[in-house]
Symmetry: C2
Subunit: 376 residues, 2 copies
C-alpha cells in the first residue's frame, strides 16, 4: 500500500521526482506539507487547504494526546474523519515537542516523564506509548519516537541521544508491526527519524543503522533547532547517500525557500514547517521568494493583488490594500487569506522545482537558491 516511485533524477544533483503512494492518496514529490498541529491547519478550512495544492498534511501526537486525547479521535473514526481531511496525513511522534515544549521530569531508556503544559499533570511517553497513540490517531504515516538533542550540544550528548533514538526505533518497530488487532481499516507506515545533530559521522552512523530495518520511509530530524541554516544542507548531504533510493525522505521542520531548494538538491522529497501559517498570523506574506510585512505603509493604497501571477483565493479576489487593512485591524480574515496564500506559495515552490527537475532545468532555474549564501 505504501510505495515510492522515483520518476526522474536530476543529472547534476541528487534531486529526484517521485510519487509516494499511501492509503489516502498520492504525494507528488518534492512537496511541502502544511502543519495542522491540533487537527487543523490554523485559520484554514480543509476546503480552503485543498485549493493550496496540499496533498499530505501533518498533525502532532504530542498536542493531540494532551487535547482532545487520542481516544476521542479514535472514537470519531480517526484523524481523517475527525478533521475532515480525506488526503494523506502524517503524525509526528511527539519526540520533538516533548523535548522542546515540556518541563522534563525524568529521561531514561524507558521513556520520558514530563509535565503537561496544559494542566501540569505528569505524563509518561515512551516508544510503545507513542506507537499506541499514533495507532489510535490513524494517520497514514507515523513517526518513530526519538530524542531530539538541542543546539548547541556536545558530541557526547548528541551521541547518547542518537543511540537512544536508535534503540527506541527498534522498540517502535516492534510495537507497531506486532500490534494486536489494529482497529484501523488501513495500514500505517512507520518512518524512522535520523538524529546526530551537526556531527556528520553520527548522522551517517545513525542512518546506516536505521536502514537495516528496511522502513517504508526515513526522516532527518533535529535540524532547524537553532543551528545556522547553512549547516542544514551539509547534514542532509551527509545522510541521504546512505538512504535507500526507493523510499521517501523527509526533512523535518524545514520550510524556507533556500533550505528546501538545497535539501532537494541533496535528495530530500518531503518538508513540513509552521512558517507559512505562523507568518500569516504575524501579518507577513511570502511573495516570490520574499517576505513582506503587510503593515508596511506602502501597501495601504496598493490596489494590486499580493502576487499577480498567483492563482490562490486571496490573490484572485483581494488587493494588498485590503489585506493590509485587515491585518492592521487585526481581523482574523486577514490571517486566513495570508495563510491560504503562503501555503499556496510554498507548495508551488516545491512543485516548480519538481517541474524543473523533470525538464532538466533545476540547477539553472533555481541557481540563485542553490548558492550557499544570500538572505531570503
Amino acid at each position: 500500500m505504501f510505495k515510492f516511485d522515483c520518476q526522474a533524477r536530476c543529472p547534476e544533483t541528487q534531486a529526484r521526482v517521485g510519487v509516494f503512494h499511501t492509503p489516502h492518496g498520492i504525494i507528488e514529490t518534492p512537496r511541502f506539507m502544511p502543519v495542522g498541529t491540533l487537527a487543523n491547519v490554523k485559520t484554514v478550512t480543509p476546503a480552503q487547504l485543498a485549493t493550496t495544492g496540499a496533498q499530505m498534511i501533518l498533525a502532532n501526537t504530542y498536542h493531540l494526546h494532551l487535547q482532545p486525547g487520542e481516544e476521542i479521535i479514535a472514537a470519531a473514526g480517526g484523524l481523517h474523519r475527525f478533521m475532515g481531511w480525506s488526503g494523506p496525513i502524517l503524525t509526528d511522534s511527539g519526540g520533538f515537542q516533548v523535548f522542546s515544549l515540556s518541563q522534563m521530569r525524568a529521561i531514561s531508556d524507558a521513556g520520558v516523564l514530563f509535565k503537561s503544559p496544559k494542566d501540569g499533570q505528569e505524563i509518561f511517553m515512551s516508544p510503545e506509548i507513542a506507537m499506541e497513540i499514533q495507532g489510535q490517531l490513524g494517520a497514514d504515516v507515523i513517526m518513530a519516537f526519538d530524542e531530539c538533542p538541542p543546539y548547541p550540544a556536545t558530541r557526547e550528548q548528541v551521541q547518547a541521544a542518537t543511540e537512544r533514538t536508535i534503540r527506541w526505533l527498534y522498540r517502535c518497530h516492534q510495537a507497531h508491526y506486532h500490534r494486536p488487532n489494529s482497529p484501523l481499516s488501513h495500514p500505517q507506515a512507520l518512518f524512522g527519524i535520523i538524529q546526530g545533530g551537526v556531527y556528520l559521522d553520527l548522522r551517517r552512523a545513525c542512518a546506516a543503522e536505521m536502514v537495516k530495518l528496511d522502513l517504508p520511509g526515513y526522516a532527518i530530524g533535529g535540524v532547524s533547532v537553532g543551528e545556522p541554516p547553512e549547516l542544514i544542507a551539509g547534514v542532509v548531504a551527509a545522510t541521504t547517500p546512505l538512504l535507500p533510493e526507493d523510499k521517501p525522505r523527509y526533512l523535518m521542520g524545514v520550510g524556507t525557500y533556500r533550505e528546501m531548494a538545497q535539501a532537494i538538491a541533496a535528495g530530500i522529497d518531503l518538508f513540513d514547517c509552521v512558517i507559512p501559517t505562523r507568518l500569516a498570523r504575524h501579518g507577513s506574506a511570502l511573495v516570490q521568494g520574499e517576505r513582506w510585512n503587510l503593515k508596511n505603509a506602502r501597501f495601504k493604497t496598493d490596489f494590486t493583488p499580493l502576487d499577480e501571477t498567483c492563482t490562490c483565493y486571496a490573490c484572485q479576489n483581494f488587493s494588498r490594500a485590503y489585506l493590509s487593512h485587515l491585518i492592521r485591524a487585526q481581523e482574523v480574515l486577514g490571517f486566513t487569506l495570508l495563510a491560504i496564500h503562503n501555503l499556496t506559495e510554498l507548495i508551488r515552490f516545491t512543485q516548480r522545482i519538481r517541474t524543473a527537475i523533470l525538464a532538466g532545468t533545476f540547477t539553472s532555474e533555481f541557481a540563485s537558491w542553490l548558492k550557499p549564501q544570500e538572505s531570503a
Copy 2:
C-alpha cells in the same frame, strides 16, 4: 433602480413577502443581513458568506472612517470591490456608534465632536459628512445620520433626539440628492432612521414626518439598546402602519428568533445583528432556536453534526466533538465554522418565515415564536 415589490401578505398579521431591487442584486424579504463592520464579516470569507444565503450585508461608516478611511475605499473602487462582495451592501451612518462607542466632546445641531477610540484624535461628524463618507464608500443603501438616545432616557431627552434626527434627515436628504458629480457608477438609496425610544407617540410622530420625504426605505433605530426585548414588538407595531407599503422596512440591530418573528408579523422586512458572528467567537452555536455552548462536556464525544438538517459547510463536514475540540483549543477555525453555521441558521430562519407567509402557514408554523414570552 431601487424598487420594492410586495409579493404576498399574511392574512392574519402585517407580515409580507417582498423583493427589494438594488444595483448589486435583489434581497428576498424578510431576510437577515450579516454585519461586516470593518469591511469583512468577521472570520468568514466572501465565498463562505455566499454559501450562508446572505444577500445584502452591512458595513459601518463609523468604523471605516476611522480605519482604513473612506478615501482608501473610494480609491479601491468602492466597498464592493475593496471587500470582494459583489452583492448588495448597506452602510450604517455611524450615528449609533458615535453615540454608543465614543467619548463625546460636544453635540449640537451642527453635528457631533467625538474622540476617536483608536488614537484619541478629535473627529467631527455631521449629516453632511456622513453622506459624504457613505458616498465615498459606495454602498447600495446608505443610512441617514441620526441621534440615537440611550435607554433609559426621559421623554424630553428622547423627544429632543428625535426632533434632531428629523432635522438631520432633511439635511442628509439635501446633501445626498444634491451631491455634485458622484464618482459612483450606481445610485445609492437613502433610508431614514425612525427614533422615539419606547415612547410610541414619538415613534408615530417621527415616522409621520419622515414619510413626507418619500424615501426609498425606512429603518426603525434605537431599539435593542438595553430596553426589555418585549418592548420592541410594540415599538414596531406602532410604527409600521405609518410607513408606505411599497418601501422596505428595516429593524436595526435585531437578530434573535423571537424578536425577528414578531417584527416580521408587524411588517418588518430586513434585520441585521452581530449576534451570529459574536456568538461564534464565544463558542456558541444557534441550533434550531436554541443556543448551545460548544464547551459543554456533552459535546466532547458527540460525533453527530451540529444540526443534522443543516446544509452549511460546518454541519456537512464536521462533528460537534470536532467543533468542541476547536473551541476548547481556541482555534480560529472553530470560530469560522460556527460563524458560517450561525449565519446560515439565522438567514434560514427568515427564509423559512418567508416560505411560510407564501404558504399561508406563518402564524401556525411560527406560533411558539409569535407568543409574547418564553426564553430563547
